[in-house]
């Protein structure tokens, strides 16, 4: 009995010595829907004796609005790259310094000095991917590494195309299709963008989320969509292939951040460090089928994921990828009106 007590005390002391990272308690995570590996959460709760609650959001703006309103009770949020600077400038994030955590050495050097959080003082990589071309090759055998698939659709695919209803992703690909740069206000180019989208839209079937079931049922012949979903579509319809638009495509990375008014900041820090462990990062990817930013996690990934052509950008198309940054407010307003005009 005494022995047990002594060890207990020693453990508690050890915990204090190791820093304020005393576990036990709660952790409330606010993440995208269908994105958090239950296996990962289970392991974290068991290892650190923390009760984890995961709440879903469906868009960056929803998350931002809800957190800004206050009284949310969340500790961790997972915003996309282009939104992280907004969260930081609005003073919503805790400067948790993940770059000083023990497992930070595992972060792939490519994802350390990122534009939205140089040196990673606030955020840790969760998953990353891109928006590209998904084609059912039983219908169309030509070149698929181009945005022309949805902007100038080949006859075989016209009327069977789904485009993700995402203003920024669609405008990005179209602007790059005309050789423009993101956040540009070149009116001549943007006029072409608008006219092209209006024209192309008449050849689209839908602008909707969820492509996996519809590629499986062969309702869709092509899509402009995220690569992880493309991979899941291929698992249900072996004719599905993913193309990397050579004209330019948007990359995304969702990053884990701790909220400034978190009730359990210590547990949140534990979680940050936990997901930088390659074995744990692999769980994230195995579940949601996107790449993570942790070097060495491949060793723990499922075979299908490791070899998935959707998740490994071929060298020749690497330079065409660019992170979607948040445009200045006046540009954003202009893009919104253009988008409304296209969708009226």
């Amino acid at each position: 009995m005494r022995w047990k007590l002594a060890t207990g005390t020693a453990l508690v002391l050890a915990a204090f010595a190791a820093g304020p990272a005393s576990a036990a308690g709660d952790l409330n995570i606010y993440n995208w829907g269908d994105y958090t590996s239950p296996e990962l959460i289970k392991k974290f709760s068991e290892v650190h004796d923390v009760k984890v609650t995961v709440t879903d959001f469906d868009s960056n703006d929803t998350a931002l609005a809800k957190i800004r309103a206050g009284g949310h009770g969340f500790d961790i949020v997972v915003p996309s790259a282009n939104y992280v600077p907004i969260w930081i400038s609005e003073g919503l994030l805790l400067e948790a310094r993940p770059d000083q955590m023990p497992n930070f050495k595992n972060v792939d050097p490519r994802w350390v000095d990122v534009a939205w959080d140089p040196g990673r003082h606030y955020t840790v990589p969760w998953q990353w991917g891109l928006t590209g071309i998904v084609v059912d090759t039983s219908l169309f055998k030509g070149e698929i590494n181009t945005s022309a698939i949805f902007l100038d659709p080949p006859e075989e695919l016209a009327g069977k195309i789904n485009v993700a209803p995402e203003m920024n992703d669609v405008l990005f690909a179209t602007i790059r299709y005309f050789g423009g740069s993101w956040c540009s206000t070149d009116k001549e180019m943007l006029k072409k963008v608008r006219d092209k989208l209006v024209e192309a839209k008449s050849k689209w079937l839908a602008m909707d989320y969820d492509i996996i079931e519809k590629f499986a049922s062969r309702d869709y012949g092509a899509a402009y969509y995220w690569n992880g979903a493309a991979m899941r579509s291929r698992e249900k319809n072996p004719d599905v292939r993913f193309g990397f638009p050579k004209e330019g495509y948007p990359l995304f990375m969702d990053s884990v951040a701790i909220l400034k008014d978190a009730k359990n900041p210590e547990n949140a820090k534990l979680f940050m460090d936990f997901i930088m462990e390659p074995e744990n990062a692999a769980m994230i990817s195995n579940f949601a089928k996107y790449a993570n930013g942790i070097a060495g996690s491949e060793a723990f990934m499922s075979v299908e994921l490791k070899t998935a052509p959707e998740l490994n950008i071929p060298a020749e198309y690497e330079a065409a990828g660019e992170f979607l940054l948040a445009c200045p407010p006046e540009v954003n307003e202009f893009y919104t009106r253009l988008w409304t005009d296209v969708n009226k």
Partner: protein, 311 residues
Amino acid sequence: MPSAAPHPAVRPRGARRGREIARRWLLSAPALLVILVAAVGPLFVMALYSVMAKGDFGDVRFGTFSSEGWFGVFFQRDIFDDTLTLADAHLTIFWRSVVLSLQTTLAALLLGVPTAYFIATRPARSREIWLFLITIPFWTNLLIRTFAIQEVIRNEGILNGALVGLGIVDRPVQIMFTDTAILIGMVYVYLPLMVLPVYASMEKIDFRLVEAGYDLYAGRLAVLRRIILPLARPGIVAGSILVFIPSLGAYVTPRVLGGGKNMMLGNLIELQFGPGRNWPLGAAISITLMAVVMLALLVYVRNATKGGQHG
């Protein structure tokens, strides 16, 4: 007030009545307070937000007033040559929503009135069963029901499977992602809201009047037009309102069944609060929508009740 002193006998009764009125107010105060806070409060917030300047990343800048939001509802500077024009994108979307809502209401009337008539003319006991059946769809979440409809009408779905299987068509009919799909979905979702109020007023009809009509040599159409419909009018008015208003703001059904290629008002408003980051404009569009609905209702109800008195 008459200057003459009130009759002595009246005074105590008047005082009692005063107390009675005060007590009624007191009793309804909690409900009134809830309505005031829960209904007028958010409206006030919306009105306030619509006249503020927009924040850079959503939200509004409090204390900085701006008419930009309201201006943007009706007018726009052309995005390319800066000339001032009517906001035709908004008007087009507005018009699409109104037309779809009218179609939905009309279809719900055509299907709902005969259904309500059928139920109202059943024996009392089986009426309860029919009503119960009408309410069953409410037990399931709207989104799930919408996805279920998608399963019925999509190309490889139940309906097309049956049509192709029976040899009626040789290729699946493209219903999914069309305006027809939206209409089917909306009518399905809102039909009970038409049937229930129409039934409620038809149930009260004294069917001896119908017999009397026949006795007086009225044809079936005349009976329907001169007796049944006028008596069911309150229900028809209520049902139409109950269907029309939510149709106008419908968001899930057009999105899921229509494929989201063309915006409805709900989507336009969502865009402003979402990636558009223009909350004042979103608030102003919402208020405009409400004002239009209110106006349409006033005209409709006034005309409908006037007609009722004539009948």
